[in-house]
């Protein structure tokens, strides 16, 4: 058991933040997840997960610019940290190992 444990939704959010490198803030993450994964995500659940990931150290955040559309409120940009990158990689390796361990005959 690794010390990194990512829930399914956490993993998806983390990956999306990585995909949007440098451009990842609330709305863009939502849009990206909705278009790529075809699933509705509420601002509330996204923001809770982002908080949690940041608290665990997988993400860093900073305030960015504001736009008129946001009523003058600043965006909060998220970036995957080195630590987060490691967690993602580890998760992926675990998956890969499992895939590799499946006997060929199982999926015939």
């Amino acid at each position: 058991m690794s010390k990194h444990h990512l829930g399914e939704f956490e993993e998806l959010v983390l990956l999306t933040v990585a995909v949007l490198y440098g451009e990842a803030y609330g709305v863009s993450i939502l849009n990206e997840m909705e278009s790529r994964l075809n699933r509705g995500v509420s601002i509330g659940s996204l923001r809770t997960v982002l908080n949690r990931l940041e608290k665990k150290g997988y993400l860093t955040s900073r305030f960015g610019e504001s736009t008129a559309m946001r009523g003058g409120k600043r965006k909060r940009y998220f970036l995957v940290s080195k630590y987060g990158q490691k967690a993602l990689q580890e998760t992926r390796e675990q998956r890969q190992q499992l895939w590799d361990a499946i006997p060929k005959i199982a999926f015939d």
Partner: protein, 886 residues
């Protein structure tokens, strides 16, 4: 810098969000929300965007985003909370009497209230468990007899259902329901039982009503022409653990039925109570085709007709057209006598009609009980409020001191509420415990199987909790608000504490005491009156001797055919002193009615006579008394065919003074034949119905044919019945009938007439005692409190020469005044209420002044005892001790 293109989302949602969100997240989340809102707005329009926005805000209201600090009463000081609990414990110990009275009184009040509400809840839930309960109606009959006598019957007759079906296609289902008493035999083990709850119904029955099936499917169980459905316990009675499905049962007359389904035992709150339910066609084999004949069956047998009408508008339309239904669809002669009305299923339990299968509930009794529950609760709460007001004043100084030492309003509020609510939690637990302990005996009184822990009862417990919260708030807010009104300095010095509370709440407190005792007095008078009426019923000369009279229903014409022989056989049993028979008992099926003419003494009266058809020895067997003339007798060989006896009421009604030459001609008595003869006697009035009913004019005559005789009436010599019953049963089962012996005792049946009243008497007596306990406790606490405050005054009086009696008098004078006022208020109320209740009886006791005086005296004694007990303590204390105290 608002851009015109920027749309504003719902402001209240936004404000709500800003309020609850953690401050460090407000900005960027709000930005995200707005941005998404703009996108939604341009894509889907304002209403969808608004909905989306509100929904997102709602979803944001979750841990991690909500600023939990806003919801904490105590910021970061669980230590203080612990202290508060400690204070509340000390408060309890410090004033044990008050606390016990407070908590106990409240708990008893709530428990009593819960008990009654449990009962009322069950009553109001009658028949509600059927899925279609709101769309099922029962069709009841209004029979108009000659002389304008109108009877409202719960039943109708078998031809009604097909008529309704063809007349109103909008009725989805119509179902007949027919009770019978049948002997049932299990051919495998020859178990033979007379089953009193064997019912027949049309095949839609189980689709219309929702019973829980253990085996079989509701839509198919009754489709076979010989199918029968059993309740689970019946199935167990006949087949033990074996699978009953497909097993055969033999009904009387050798009719064979097969078990096609088993249902769970029928819940108590159901107006349809049966053990067996067979499909309708079986009845043809048991009783003959005529039972369902569309022409013949309009008079007998009575059947119950239900219909399901889902559409409310349809139902209303049908209901309004029921007036004309019998005119339009029945033969003119029938239409004159019978019309039908629709009764919603949910009302079946609350409208007492003639021929109801189950006992009904009188809604006004339920309302009375509801009022009693509310009153008891209020009495309990009054104590609490009273003591809260009095003790609250005492706490001013403490609160003031806390304030000086730096407590802010919120702290004081928290402390007071922790204190009251922790006390109230104890009260709630105690109340629930009390309910659990007393529920079995309460069930015993009301004859029910109630349970507290049922889903349908959770809201009652919730209600009890809500009452407690209200009390808690009151106990918290009163001292809290009162203190904030006064100057801190004065509060600590104690300047305000003496006068403020006493003056501002004195009248209120007094009226609560008056209210408590008035309620107790009303309950006491009610108990006395109900007991008095029950006593009156016991003592009432019924005009017959009901003790040691055994009734055996005759259910077979084979017995009727050999009636003489059967009578001789029964007379041969030792212990039987006389045997006779009667057609039917008026409390059950009413009287026979025959169109008759009374003639003689220059009179000629046409009348519809209510008649009891009896056997010759009936009057002597029942020990009825003759007022005039003679009873039926074998010495006059013709009594069997041409003699009539009137009761007193009939004699009065028809203005008959003496019997000379008086004759009655009764038409169509049996098989269309008339019966004509002289009136040989007048009976003293006798009661074969409950005393709720007026004395009715009745004629007795000997049944012209034995098939009228449906009940043996047997007088036994002694009360040692066990042994004789066995002997009668032996004779009955070997030589008279192939059915098991069924019997009941007349006096027990008479007792059952007053079951509701005797239950009410018990309930009222218990609640009257409770009311006195709670009110007495409250008065005790109040007296204790007041005499404590007047301790110094009393001590000085004592030193100056007042006697103990004078001091007690001084202390109790105010209270006794209140109790007197309570008695004065309660008496007329009780008088009105009990008069109303007694009006239910045609034969009733009168309200006595001494009932009221007695109740008042008891109340005064209790109140005086309570107060002087406390006063004595004050009066006997060494005055020096009190005066020395600072």
């Amino acid at each position: 810098m608002q851009d015109k293109n920027i749309k504003n989302p719902p402001q209240w949602a936004l404000r709500f969000f800003r309020w609850f969100c953690l401050p460090e997240m407000v900005e960027d989340i709000e930005g995200d929300l707005l941005e998404r809102y703009q996108i939604k707005y341009s894509q889907d329009g304002i209403s969808k965007a608004n909905r989306y926005f509100n929904y997102q805000v709602l979803l944001l209201f979750r841990p991690g985003i909500v600023n939990y600090r806003k919801f904490l009463l105590f910021q970061n000081n669980t230590d203080m909370l612990k202290k508060y609990l400690q204070f509340s414990g000390r408060q309890l110990l410090n004033a044990k009497n008050y606390a016990v009275i407070n908590i106990f009184g409240l708990a008893v009040g709530i428990a009593a209230c819960l008990l009654i509400l449990l009962y009322i809840n069950e009553e109001w839930s009658y028949d509600a468990f059927h899925e279609n309960s709101d769309s099922i109606y029962r069709f009841t009959t209004i029979e108009t007899e000659e002389e304008g006598v109108v009877r409202h019957l719960a039943n109708s007759y078998s031809p009604l259902a097909p008529l309704l079906e063809s007349a109103f296609p909008e009725m989805e289902q119509v179902c007949r329901y027919f009770p019978r008493s049948l002997s049932v035999k299990n051919p495998e083990n020859n178990l033979l039982v007379q089953e009193g709850r064997f019912f027949f119904a049309d095949s839609v029955f189980f689709e219309m009503f929702s019973f829980e099936f253990k085996q079989g499917a509701p839509s198919t169980v009754l489709t076979q022409p010989n199918s029968v459905v059993l309740t689970q316990s019946t199935a167990q009675r006949y087949f033990d653990e074996e699978d009953p499905i497909g097993k055969s049962l033999l009904l009387e007359g050798g009719v064979d039925v097969r078990v096609t389904g088993v249902i769970e035992d029928i819940p108590a709150n159901c107006s349809l109570q049966f053990d067996f339910l067979a499909t309708m066609s079986v009845i043809r084999k048991v009783m003959g085709d005529w039972v369902l004949d569309p022409q013949q069956a309009w008079y007998y047998p009575p059947m119950y007709t239900f219909a399901k009408i889902s559409n409310q508008a349809d139902a209303e339309r049908i209901e309004s057209s029921m007036d004309k239904f019998s005119d339009n669809h029945l033969a003119p002669k029938l239409a004159e006598q019978k019309s039908f009305t629709m009764q919603p299923l949910r009302k079946v339990h609350f409208e007492a009609l003639e021929g109801d299968l189950e006992t009904t509930s009188n809604p006004s009794v339920l309302y009375i009980l509801l009022a009693v529950a509310f009153l008891i609760l209020t009495i309990g709460c009054s104590n609490y409020i009273n003591l809260a007001l009095s003790k609250g004043v005492q706490r001013f100084r403490e609160i003031g001191m806390r304030k000086v030492l730096g407590a802010n309003n919120r702290d004081i509020f928290t402390q007071l509420s922790v204190e009251s609510f922790s006390h109230l939690m104890i009260a709630l637990v105690l109340a629930l415990l009390l309910v659990m302990i007393t529920l079995p005996s309460f069930n015993n009184i009301i004859g029910r199987e109630l349970s507290l822990w049922e889903n349908s009862n959770w809201h009652l417990i919730g209600g009890a909790a809500a009452v407690l919260v209200l009390m808690g708030l009151m106990n918290t807010l009163f001292p809290f608000l009162a203190v904030s009104r006064f100057k801190l300095y004065g509060v600590i010095k104690g300047e305000q504490s003496g006068t403020a509370g006493a003056k501002s709440s004195g009248t209120f407190k007094n009226s609560l005491v008056v209210f408590q005792f008035a309620t107790a007095v009303v309950l006491l008078i009610a108990t006395f009156t109900i007991q008095q009426q029950l006593h009156y019923i016991q003592q009432k000369n019924l005009g017959l001797q009901a003790e040691q009279v055994m009734i055996i229903p005759i259910r077979d014409d084979s017995i009727q055919n050999k009636f003489r022989l059967a009578k001789e056989l029964l007379l041969g049993v030792p212990g039987v002193s006389s045997v006779s028979a009667i057609s039917n008992f008026p409390w059950d099926r009413g009287y026979y009615n025959f169109q008759s003419t009374i003639s003689g003494q220059g009179k000629l009266i046409d009348a519809n006579l209510q008649t009891l058809l009896v056997e010759e020895d009936f009057i002597s067997t029942m020990n009825m008394e003759m007022m005039d003339g003679r009873s039926f007798s074998k010495d006059f060989g013709s009594d069997g065919s041409n003699a009539f006896i009137l009761n007193e009421a009939a004699a009065i009604k028809f203005g008959i003074k003496d019997l000379d030459g008086l004759r009655i001609n009764m038409t169509k008595v049996a098989r269309g034949k008339a019966k004509e003869g002289e009136v040989i006697g007048i009976l003293k009035d006798f009661h074969l119905k409950s005393l709720h009913h007026e004395m009715e004019p009745v004629v007795l005559t000997v049944a012209p044919v034995s098939y009228f005789l449906d009940n043996f009436v047997i007088r036994l010599q002694t009360n040692d019945l066990e042994q004789y019953i066995n002997q009668i049963a032996a004779v009955w089962e070997t030589e008279i009938s192939d059915r098991p012996l069924e019997y009941f005792f007349l006096d027990e049946t008479f007792q059952e007439f007053y079951l509701k009243e005797s239950r009410l008497a018990k309930i009222f007596s218990y609640f009257a005692v409770l009311a006195f306990i709670i009110a007495g406790l409250g008065m005790f606490a109040l007296a204790a409190y007041l005499s404590e405050r007047r301790m110094k005054e009393m001590s000085i009086r004592k030193i100056l020469g007042a006697t103990i009696l004078q001091i007690i008098g001084l202390l109790s004078k105010d209270f006794l005044k209140l109790v007197l006022i309570a008695i004065l208020i309660a008496s007329p109320l009780a008088w009105i209420g009990m008069n109303y209740w007694l009006n239910d009886f045609a034969f009733r006791t009168n309200l006595n002044w001494w009932t009221f005086a007695g109740a008042g005296l008891i109340t005064l004694i209790i109140a005086f005892g309570t107060v002087s007990f406390r006063g004595l303590k004050t009066a006997r204390v060494n005055p020096v001790e009190n005066i020395k105290q600072a």
